[in-house]
């Protein structure tokens, strides 16, 4: 009985997310096509992005599956991925893999979370910022980069994702937000900075477990680049997505969503003009091995969307996603075309 109530409650919440996403869709789509999209389980935005007028919808993971079923794949252990503080706590035992978490901020209180830097007040955060130059502040919950702020130490104040505030106003703002963690700012590798330096350009690496062998595999890796003056690399908000690997370490063709919601295939970044297609991701083989190694060490999480930033000397994982957005990972082709992916979802009754 309790399990049923819990399941209904969760489904209601996911339906609500789905409804909210549908309402946010700014792109024009005739009512007939909208209804067709909904009947096939897609939001109208996804229908446009995936060009389902021309492509076969049966090979795509649709939004209904994503919102209502994918979040149950990791069972109760999904909480490790939902909560960013918890994610850091679990994965920090692997050396040099997650950015350092310096402090937890809640209701004006600051608790130190790091052995080397004792950050226990709002003032101490600003002192640390003065030393480090940049820090990241993000909500312990939430996804899509919406609750992520880059703090920068600038002359005469502190920049919150580009907006400069005075010292006093910064203190007030730091303490006035919901539960946040203050983490290290990860400097991405030169190739990514050259393409677009205004955001942390991360790679979404989707790992699943192959039920035949029991081993994890990389289902898809998509490199995202920011765009449109935003400091996050969200593809539906002006960014670009380019497929990478698994065997080739060069970036493939980039996809950008145009003003009408249709995908445009591009080889250069639309804002900077920098070449994307063909650019080599440094030490890609090691990045894949490391991520698969982590998936192997945490087999109770069979489905993870890792957000990885490649640095000059390795990689950092910004977060893991349990309910990974599969939309932009399918811009370059449907996920279910891979028999291992189809088998994974079929066995877990997602399809």
């Amino acid at each position: 009985m309790l399990a049923t109530v819990r399941s209904i409650y969760r489904k209601r919440r996911h339906y609500k997310w789905m409804y909210r996403e549908e309402r946010k869709n700014p792109y024009p789509l005739p009512l007939g096509k909208r209804i067709r999209a909904w009947r096939m389980g897609f939001l109208s935005g996804s229908y446009l992005f995936l060009d389902l007028d021309r492509n076969e919808p049966g090979d795509y993971i649709n939004d209904r599956m994503r919102f209502l079923r994918l979040s149950f794949l990791n069972g109760p252990y999904a909480e490790i991925l939902h909560n960013k503080l918890l994610f850091g706590e679990v994965f920090r035992r692997h050396p040099d893999i997650v950015p350092e978490t310096y402090a937890l901020v809640r209701h004006q209180s600051v608790w130190p979370m790091c052995d080397t830097e004792h950050v226990n007040s709002l003032e101490a955060i600003l002192e640390l910022l003065a030393r480090k130059g940049r820090l990241v502040m993000k909500g312990t919950r939430g996804f899509g980069g919406g609750d992520c702020t880059i703090l920068e130490d600038r002359e005469g104040g502190v920049a919150f994702s580009g907006t400069v505030l005075s010292h006093q106003a910064a203190l007030q703002k730091l303490g006035s937000r919901r539960e946040q963690i203050v983490t290290e700012y990860v400097r991405q590798a030169a190739y990514a900075r050259e393409i677009y330096s205004g955001s942390a350009n991360s790679i979404r690496m989707l790992t699943m477990v192959d039920d035949e062998t029991g081993e994890p595999f990389l289902a898809r890796a998509v490199h995202r680049f920011g765009g449109g003056e935003r400091m996050v690399d969200n593809v539906t908000q002006g960014g670009v997505a380019a497929i990478v690997g698994p065997d080739d370490d060069r970036l493939g063709i980039g996809v950008q969503i145009d003003d009408s919601g249709h995908p445009q295939y591009i080889e250069r970044h639309p804002d900077t003009g920098a070449q994307i297609t063909g650019v080599t991701v440094p030490h890609w083989g090691q990045v894949v091995d490391r991520i698969l190694g982590l998936a192997r060490e945490h087999p109770y999480l069979p489905y993870i969307g890792w957000d990885v930033v490649v640095t000059d000397d390795g990689l950092r994982i910004l977060e893991g996603n349990s309910n990974s957005g599969v939309l932009f990972t399918q811009f370059h082709g449907p996920l279910l075309a891979d028999p291992r992916v189809r088998r994974f979802f079929e066995r877990r009754r997602i399809l």
Binding site: L2, V5, Y9, G75, P76, Y77, E79, I80, N83, L85, L86, E89, V90, R92, R93, L104, W111, P112, M113, D115, N120, T140, R141, G214, H298, P299, Y300
Partner: protein, 354 residues
Amino acid sequence: MQLVSLARNSYRKRQYLGWLIHDERTNRRPIPRAERMRAWKLGFLSLTYRMCQIDRFGPQNYVTDRMRYLRTPFLNGSYAVVLDDKLIFNEVFRRHPGLLPETYALLRRDRVVPLNSDRVCSHDDVLKLLERKHRLIIKPTTGGGGGNVVLLEQRESGASWNGEALGPEQIRSRMKENRDRLVMEFVEQARYAREIHGASANTIRVLCLWDDDENRPFAARAVQRFGSPATAPVDNITQGGLDAAVDLETGRLGKGARMTPEGRPEFHDHHPDTGARIEGVVVPHWRETLSALLAVAEKYPNLPYVGWDVLITDDGFRLLEGNNMSGLWMFQVHGPLLADPRVRRFYERRGVLG
């Protein structure tokens, strides 16, 4: 949004209220209805009312069961899951070397998920591991009170499941039961505890609270539990075990309290089943244990309220688990918690009292 959060809160409170009622109903001891009513009016379960002798000492300085069930579960907020789920607990705390017992695998119905470098991937691997280690612990990832904890032993005649000799096929089929369970290392407890009652893992529950003024945790109270033949392989005190207060400064044990069939406390200076002395025994390396435990707790300010279960070994200690909604009568049978101003302040500031 407020409505949703209200509904969520009500749903959770309903769950804890359900437990409260369940725990009252499972108290089958012959307690007159009037006494039960008196206990309920004051916010206590009849079991706590009798064990803590509220009729004799008055309720003023005691944390009631109403507070415990309806308010303390929320003190750790969304991080309660770290304590409620033993796999997540293990994943969070295993970064501290030597702190936890080794966890080898997760049993999920037909599947065995390996959790460390031993790569225990099947039920056969568990049996092979048992042959090498001789003793293993299997415990559910959720649930408290030591219920459903299994001691798997390799004996000369074959394997045994909580003392019951079973063939490999029967053990395999028992491992396939519905609940998620962990296969863990068996930790050998220190000699002093083996001598008092060797058939159970005799743990110490340390109640740690966060001091907002000092911005660090402190130990509010610690009790050493001892099992009995009825509770082995665990030390559950409602089923016949004893608990003795541990002096936080010296580690010296006080008298062991045991529940009589009528549900009243009975204080023993010797273990009634083994005859071994309890009162006056000093827990080995207690100061080091407590300071190491507090050093770990200090790294988790997001967990301000934890009942840690610690097993003292010959060369240190192991942390078996943390409890989000620790039972309190095991502490309060030795005196009310709120008599300590720091403890009272903690509960007051976090809205548990009043």
